[in-house]
């Protein structure tokens, strides 16, 4: 099961939106290999009849009343923005030129 190639790491880095240098990819492929060997043991005991647990508390659909409450002003919400225009976040271009 284990065994992860440099190309696979490059693909994962693209999915995770992290630019990586060649040396980072090489180093990470080696380390992920050893981590995956160490964690593969979960497959030994994960029998089909065991139900998965995603969360320690048995909660479903926690909702509150739909009431208007005080919230951040737009200045407060924009206070950490890397770039802004008027009362909006300014982001780099999302669509291509044409």
């Amino acid at each position: 099961m284990a065994g992860i190639s440099r190309d696979e790491v490059a693909h994962l880095a693209r999915l995770a939106r992290i630019e990586m240098s060649d040396s980072e990819l090489d180093h990470l492929a080696t380390q992920l290999d050893s981590i995956l060997v160490a964690v593969a043991s979960v497959q030994e005991v994960a029998q089909a009849d065991v139900s998965p647990t995603s969360h320690p508390l048995p909660l479903t659909n926690v909702i509150r009343e739909d009431l208007v409450r005080p919230s951040l002003t737009s200045d407060e919400a924009l206070s950490g923005a890397p770039a802004k225009v008027d009362h909006r976040f300014k982001v780099p271009q999302i669509l291509g030129e044409e």
Partner: protein
């Protein structure tokens, strides 16, 4: 005489008697920080002016006869993963350098409401990922017992601040041991409450189904006092438990364990556990027997898979949680020259903003969640989680609380495991099962290992929503050990602490 070496409970008493003011107490701690923090590096940000303003405010209220909470005016160190309005909150990452949150986390709001004085923000492994504080983008924290050693992680800054008497109280967060392991290796006390006991609102998420904030201090009673300040139901956290907070202060003062059954977890001992750690743990068990507890052995056969499951679940949740650091609304932005696309700006920002361990875990989590591998890795890990919960259920049927050494070893050297993630992860082997099941866990000091003279942690685990039990056992054990030693463990800490 109340001074920085006093407990928070003693400080609280002196404040209410009027023999010291909060401003004096806060200033004394700021002086100690000035004196030792260049060596320890527990703090990322010292919030001198705000701390003194909070202290003045409490003093004025006290003078006017206002009824104050027990810890009003007592200083505290806050882990830099909790949002505090207007105060830098970095999570130990370059990604959030200079970010000042526009709101308070619920923990901070409760601290402020109780008049606790927040001295500043403490160092941590980046986004709470690590066991040594070496993954902080701002340099490591040093263990006050030996500056060449790790203070534990991820909350090494909070634990080191306590051990070096820079603060009598601290807040930590614990996803796989980040409160308890630093407490163990610094000779302090740290508690991870039951999952859902303390609100996660404003706690920057690492692994949402495991993260839990909790109290840190130098005594069991002080952690209990802080526990009651920060715990409680919060509408802002959908996983908050809507039930009364257990009476942990009363439990910590009980000093009686007669008739309690204490289960020693067979799997959390033996191979890999340092001889001196095991020895001090066993001696502590003897004290509990003398105090009237009954010791039983319990077996949790699936614990051997806990670490593996954790290192699939936590990175998986992290890879999703940390997607929010996309450089669009707050935090670092790199390469935005007007021509580069948003996607490329994200790639460049995340390359530069995240450190090696964070990238490693995001990639591992992305892998474990990708189609084709999901069932084998993430799905299997979730099943292991069920098995761990069953192990605990069986064990708690035989014992009221469970115990083990907090960590297999004492503090290792800075740099020793930096590039060996698997060895680093092994340090959390005894603390991780607690988070996986969502139960409560405490670490308190049980002595110094004979071979290296470094602190050893004793872990107590209590069933979900019965956090009072671990405080009862912890308080009793602490009293027995301190009376046996004739002094507290931290009174032996090297000259650094100003002794």
């Amino acid at each position: 005489m109340t001074n920085i070496h006093s407990t928070a409970a003693q400080m609280s008493e002196a404040l209410s008697e009027g023999s010291i003011t909060s401003v004096e107490l806060t200033e004394a701690h700021l002086v100690q920080i000035e004196k030792v923090d260049s060596k320890v590096h527990a703090f990322l940000h010292v919030d001198r002016e705000n701390a003194l303003a909070q202290a003045r405010d409490v003093d004025a209220k006290r003078k006017s006869g206002e009824k104050l909470s027990a810890l009003a005016g007592v200083p505290l160190a806050l882990k830099d993963v909790l949002a505090q309005k207007g105060v830098p909150t970095t999570c130990g990452s370059k990604m959030l350098e200079g970010w000042r949150p526009p709101y308070d986390s619920t923990v901070v709001a409760k601290l402020k409401q109780s008049g606790v004085v927040i001295l500043g923000k403490t160092n941590m492994d980046e986004f709470a990922m690590g066991s040594s504080t070496e993954n902080s983008a701002y340099g490591p924290t040093h263990n006050p017992w030996d500056l060449t050693r790790i203070p534990g992680g991820s909350g090494g800054g909070s634990a080191a601040a306590l051990a070096s008497f820079e603060a009598p109280l601290a807040i930590g967060t614990d996803t796989g041991g980040s409160i308890r392991q630093p407490a163990a290796v610094t000779g302090t006390v740290g508690v991870k409450p039951t999952y859902g006991a303390v609100s996660r609102y404003g706690l920057v998420a690492f692994s949402s189904s495991l993260d839990q904030a909790g109290p840190c201090a130098r005594t069991v009673l002080d952690t209990a006092l802080l526990h009651e300040v920060i715990a409680g139901y919060d509408q802002m956290d959908s996983t908050s438990i809507n039930a009364p907070v257990p009476q942990v202060v009363t439990a910590a003062k009980k000093l009686d364990v007669k008739g309690l059954k204490i289960g020693v977890v067979k799997e959390l001992s033996g191979e890999g556990y340092q001889a001196g750690v095991q020895q001090r743990f066993n001696e502590a068990l003897d004290e509990l027997v003398k105090a009237g507890a009954e010791i039983v052995e319990v077996s949790c056969p699936n614990f051997e898979y806990a670490l593996a499951a954790y290192y699939l679940i936590a990175p998986s949740e992290a890879s999703s949680n940390l997607a929010r650091f996309d450089s669009m609304r707050y935090g670092l932005r790199v390469g935005d020259d007007g021509k580069t696309s948003a996607e490329e700006v994200m790639n460049l920002t995340r390359h530069e903003g995240f450190g090696a361990e964070v990238k490693r875990r995001i990639i591992l989590g992305t892998y474990a969640l990708s189609s084709g591998y999901y069932d084998a890795y993430y799905g299997s890990a979730q099943k292991v989680r069920t098995l761990l919960i069953r192990d605990y259920q069986a064990a708690f049927a035989k014992a009221d609380v469970l115990v083990s050494p907090t960590c297999p070893t004492t503090a290792f050297k800075l740099g020793e495991n930096v590039d060996n993630p698997v060895a680093m992860y092994l340090n959390d082997i005894a603390t991780i099962p607690v988070n996986m099941a969502g139960i409560g866990g405490m670490s308190l000091p049980c002595g110094l290992a004979p071979e290296d003279g470094l602190p050893v942690g004793f872990q107590i685990m209590s069933p979900a929503m019965k956090d009072d039990l671990m405080y009862q056992v912890g308080g009793t054990l602490e009293a027995a050990l301190v009376s046996k030693w004739g002094k507290t463990l931290l009174s032996e800490i090297p000259a650094l602490a100003g002794k």
